[in-house]
């Protein structure tokens, strides 16, 4: 408490300048928490971010929310000027692109589900490549028999595709409305008895790991 009284938080306009400088200096997006940690005691990054976003609206550089983090990015309508900055990226295979989309739209999703949707088994390296790009990562294990690992998209994915949240994925609502994002298991007669699902709920996770 004595700290608070000794060092009063700077005025909002000053906090805004600080956030502006921090974000401008960084190439990678910064979360509210990261900003907060670097601002003087008592500052609140949130209103500063809101003001900044407004201030940069329509400029050549814009403040964007990307997943959980914020970053300045050039306006996309100016892309044609930037040819010299363009980084030549390895072209993703069709399998990798589709797998990425499936992870984004169906997350958290297991390998078996990806294969079920694509109707073909995942070749080696596809998941690895997407993880290397830091576009997907491991999510929680699915609490179904076998406890398969799941995959989810990362903050870097949001940054790369300029998404504020997964909800902003193009066409998500329509896909959901059309029932195309539901996991509908095949009405397979050869499949295991329905007991599967019943056991799901009873499945007890392994002994708790200390963290």
């Amino acid at each position: 408490m004595s700290d608070d009284s000794l060092f009063e938080a700077p005025p909002l306009a000053e906090q805004e300048r600080m956030v502006e400088a921090l974000l401008f200096a960084s190439a990678a997006p910064l979360t509210v928490g990261e900003l907060q940690a670097r601002l003087p005691h008592g500052c609140d990054a949130r209103p500063a971010l809101e003001n900044l976003a407004k201030r940069y609206q329509g400029r050549g550089v814009e403040l964007r929310k990307l997943g959980e983090a914020w970053a300045f990015r050039t306006s996309s309508d100016l892309a044609h000027l930037m040819t010299r900055e363009t980084v030549e990226t390895r072209k993703l295979s069709r399998a990798a692109v589709e797998t990425l989309a499936i992870v984004a739209y169906h997350q958290p999703v297991t390998r078996a589900e990806i294969e079920e949707i694509r109707g073909v088994s995942l070749s080696k390296g596809t998941i690895e490549q997407l993880m290397e790009l830091d576009w997907i990562r491991l999510g929680k294990r699915r609490m179904t028999p076998g406890r398969p690992v799941t995959f989810v998209v990362t903050g870097a994915f949001m940054d790369h595709f300029g998404l504020e949240s997964v909800r902003d994925l193009p066409g998500l609502k329509e896909l959901r409305a059309a029932g195309l994002l539901e996991a509908t298991p095949p009405p397979d007669m050869l499949s295991e008895p329905e007991a599967d699902e019943a056991q799901d709920d009873m499945f007890t996770p392994p002994p708790p790991d200390e963290d």
Partner: protein, 263 residues
């Protein structure tokens, strides 16, 4: 369902010919398909209807014609294409027969699910294309080109990725010299084993007895095993002495160690 109607339209030879021609065209490019579902989707598109209204029966016929043609041309199809063919042949026969009330899953359900799979795959394809068409970082949108560092505080931090971690572990677990944990014990007597051996034995040691008498049978010959057994047994006696179960004595440096039960 459409498939019902199709059952009565079975057969004009012209369709078969068209199917065969279509099959031939696809066969040329069979490597270009990502599995049977992808191939089916391409075939479905030739029906030029909404995927939700696709005739699964016609599709099954088309696919089977494709596989047959491939056989004629002696083109080796991957196993999953043949599995799909077998399944579609089964589905086709079920769709053509009057519904069997004893079957739990109707042919229509199976056909509907296949149509759903195709629709979902198509939807994901489109979504993937829309995703890739978004403004991408480093292509359409750019980050700060000259990240600024003014500080003079230099801190070294070490980093590794999850991939490094998993690959590191995989490397360990698969290297040739790897032996499963705890199995590699032929020449080693652990203290726990020695303890377990000693506990029932000390009940009978009213008199001072040489420690060597407690080594397990067959461990005296090989010097390596003898050393390990002696060390483990000695450590075990210390542990038991600590708990007040027995006493130890040694008359001189390097003299035999003797133990007895504590009265």
């Amino acid at each position: 369902m459409d498939s019902q109607d199709d059952a009565f339209e079975e057969g004009p030879a012209r369709d078969e010919v068209a199917d065969r021609l279509a099959a031939e065209a696809l066969i040329v490019d069979v490597d270009g398909f990502e599995g049977p579902l992808d191939l089916l989707l391409t075939m479905a598109r030739t029906q030029k209807v909404d995927l939700a209204k696709i005739s699964v029966l016609a599709l099954a016929r088309q696919y089977l014609a494709f596989v047959e043609k491939a056989r004629e041309l002696r083109i080796e199809l991957a196993a999953d294409y043949l599995v799909m063919a077998a399944w579609l042949a089964f589905l086709k026969s079920r769709l053509l027969l009057p519904p069997d009330p004893t079957e739990e899953v109707s042919a229509e359900d199976l056909a509907a699910h296949l149509a759903f799979q195709l629709e979902r795959l198509e939807a994901m394809r489109k979504s993937a294309a829309r995703l890739m068409a978004r403004d991408q970082l480093g292509r359409d949108v750019f980050a700060r080109g000259e990240p600024q560092v003014q500080g003079r505080v230099r801190r070294v931090t070490y980093t590794a990725t999850l991939l490094d971690l998993m690959q590191g572990y995989a490397r360990l677990r698969t290297k040739d010299e790897f032996r499963p944990f705890v199995m590699d014990r032929e020449g080693v007597l652990t203290m726990e084993e020695a303890l377990e051996r000693l506990r029932p034995l000390i009940g009978h040691t009213g008199d001072w007895t040489d420690l060597r008498a407690f080594l397990p049978d067959g461990w005296e010959e090989d010097p390596k095993r003898r050393r390990s057994a002696t060390a483990a047994t000695f450590a075990a006696t210390l542990e038991l002495a600590k708990h007040g179960k027995l006493e130890l004595r040694q008359s001189d440096t390097f003299a035999p160690i003797q133990i007895r039960r504590r009265a």
